[in-house]
């Protein structure tokens, strides 16, 4: 099977708190991988380790069969091949919407592509129009910020996309627009997407594969269509959204 990303026994602790615990997962090329799991189980930390924003304590990450470490990320120009949507949008608040969306493009090719056109095109994909081009992030609603950040993530047509909770904070109709967008980039552009979400509706709609994280490790991986018949009590509890089950809500944990 063709894997764009292979992660072997990744571990990361903050102080004496273990967040990722020998986590292994393989991501198939040109598929949509969804990662679900409770709050604080290390989903965002996992993405940041892949991106090189957090240095893991142990384990290996392979991208297209090449190992990813600090030096190699620069050598293979890893960041120009990926797009990342941060959980909190992370728009540059000193730049307007257009400058935010096209921020990475200037660095890629300096021959004069029409930046406004690209920005308008990407905005349309996330359900916004050109009237917001000149607004600053502080002038946008939370959901609009999220969508502009999504437009920024796809602006360079990357081959690997990371979406950290793309539909939180959006109304159900807008969430569906974003679901369709994620499906579209995978089908039309041939990209691979890794999406973290709590939104099971969205997960079922966009996922080819689903993995569930619990206490810093993958406890279930499978086809999206099998999620309802996983026979895994953790998964069952999570998709039912029940407070009864093997996952205990312990505030001291």
């Amino acid at each position: 099977m063709d894997h764009i990303l292979k992660i072997n026994e990744l571990s990361k602790s903050f102080g004496d708190k273990s967040v990722l615990d020998n986590l292994s997962i393989n991501i198939e090329r040109n598929k949509s991988q969804v990662i679900i799991g409770g709050s604080g189980t290390g989903k965002s930390v996992l993405l940041k380790c892949i991106l090189g924003l957090i240095e893991p304590d142990g384990g290996e990450i392979f991208f297209n069969q090449q190992i990813l470490n600090k030096k190699n990320r620069a050598d293979i120009d890893f960041h120009s091949k990926i797009g990342m949507l941060f959980q909190g949008a992370a728009l540059f608040d000193s730049l307007n919407v257009q400058e935010n969306i096209t921020f990475g493009i200037k660095k890629l090719d300096s021959n004069h592509v029409n930046l406004t056109e690209i920005a308008v095109d990407k905005l349309k994909k996330v359900g916004l129009d050109s009237s917001v081009l000149c607004l600053y992030p502080s002038e946008l609603s939370g959901g609009m910020q999220k969508r502009v950040a999504l437009a920024r993530a796809i602006a360079r047509n990357p081959e690997l996309l990371f979406f950290d909770e793309p539909t939180t904070g959006l109304d159900p109709i807008m969430a569906d627009v974003i679901n369709n967008l994620i499906n579209e980039v995978i089908e039309e552009v041939g990209a691979t997407a890794i999406t973290i979400t709590h939104d099971m509706e969205s997960a079922k709609k966009i996922a080819d594969n689903i993995s569930m994280l619990y206490k810093g490790a993958v406890i279930w991986t499978g086809d999206a269509v099998d999620i309802n018949s996983s026979n895994n009590p953790y998964v069952d509890q999570f998709i039912k959204g029940s407070s009864e089950g093997p996952i205990k809500i312990n505030p001291n944990d």
Partner: protein, 262 residues
């Protein structure tokens, strides 16, 4: 009972270790800065923006403080000088005091309050809202994009600000000297021009460049390493202003005693 014997040495040891650790971190940050300074890409537009923000926008603050400093210097030296019938040295001492010492130090300290604080708060906010992480994922080195333009802008701006502070400070002394202390205008100006030499002004400008570096570098360093949300932003801003101010006064003494005593 015995445990209490260890409290003090432990506290001392802890703070010494902490200090060594931060010196190490600052050294690494400085090394990264130097490497980024000489490797492309160079963000010229950010540099120009920062020159306006750090240099041009500081003009009113620096002009006002320089004016009052020159004025009060004239008053005090008049009082001191008159005790041994040497009132006439007012013009000379104001000129030397401003160009060699007070111009750069006051401008540096004002910039520490104004610029260190704002740089640190801005970069710290970018850190805690993951904007710095976002820069990296968009193939942009934050050291080159954020730190280098700010530090360069401060190193370029502060000497220029100090030239202006020198002129306004001496004018402050002149206004007080001629309007309230009764000096004759022509002779005040002549005394001033007679005493000042090029190296007095130059020594002040070299200090200014060093202070400019300290101000922006401390702002960037503390902002960049900020942790812990809004409170962390506040903490790094305080640290930036305090450490920049102390380093300015300490390096002022070192520079003066080693290089500029003649």
């Amino acid at each position: 009972m015995y445990r209490y014997i260890y409290v003090i040495p432990e506290a001392i040891g802890r703070s010494v270790l902490k200090m060594c650790a931060s010196i190490g971190r600052i050294a690494i940050f400085f090394y990264d800065f130097v490497v980024s300074l000489f490797t492309p890409p160079f963000y010229i537009k950010s540099l120009l923006n920062q020159l306006v923000r750090i240099g041009y926008n500081s003009l009113p603050v620096i002009g006002l403080t320089a004016f009052f400093t020159g004025g009060v210097l004239a008053l005090q030296i008049y009082v001191g000088g008159s005790r041994f019938n040497a009132e006439n040295i007012v013009a000379s001492i104001v000129a030397l005091g401003i160009t060699r010492e007070l111009g750069p130090v006051i401008a540096g300290l004002m910039l520490a309050g104004r610029v260190s604080a704002s740089i640190s708060a801005e970069i710290a906010t970018m850190r805690v809202t993951e904007q710095i992480d976002a820069l990296i994922t968009l193939s942009t080195n934050p050291m080159k994009y954020l730190v280098v333009p700010r530090v360069l802008a401060a190193v370029i701006s502060l000497p220029i600000l100090v030239i202006i502070a020198d002129i306004i400070g001496i004018m402050g002394g002149f206004v007080v000297g001629t309007k309230t202390l009764g000096f004759i205008e022509q002779s005040y100006i002549k005394n001033t021009l007679d005493i000042i030499e090029l190296h007095d002004v130059m020594s002040g400008l070299i200090k200014a460049a060093v202070f400019g570096f300290i101000v922006a570098f401390m702002g960037c360093y503390h902002g960049y390493n900020s942790t812990g949300g809004a409170q962390g932003v506040g903490r790094s801003t305080t640290l930036a202003v305090v450490s920049a101010s102390i380093l300015i006064l300490a390096s002022n003494y070192i520079l003066t005693s080693l290089v500029f005593t003649n």
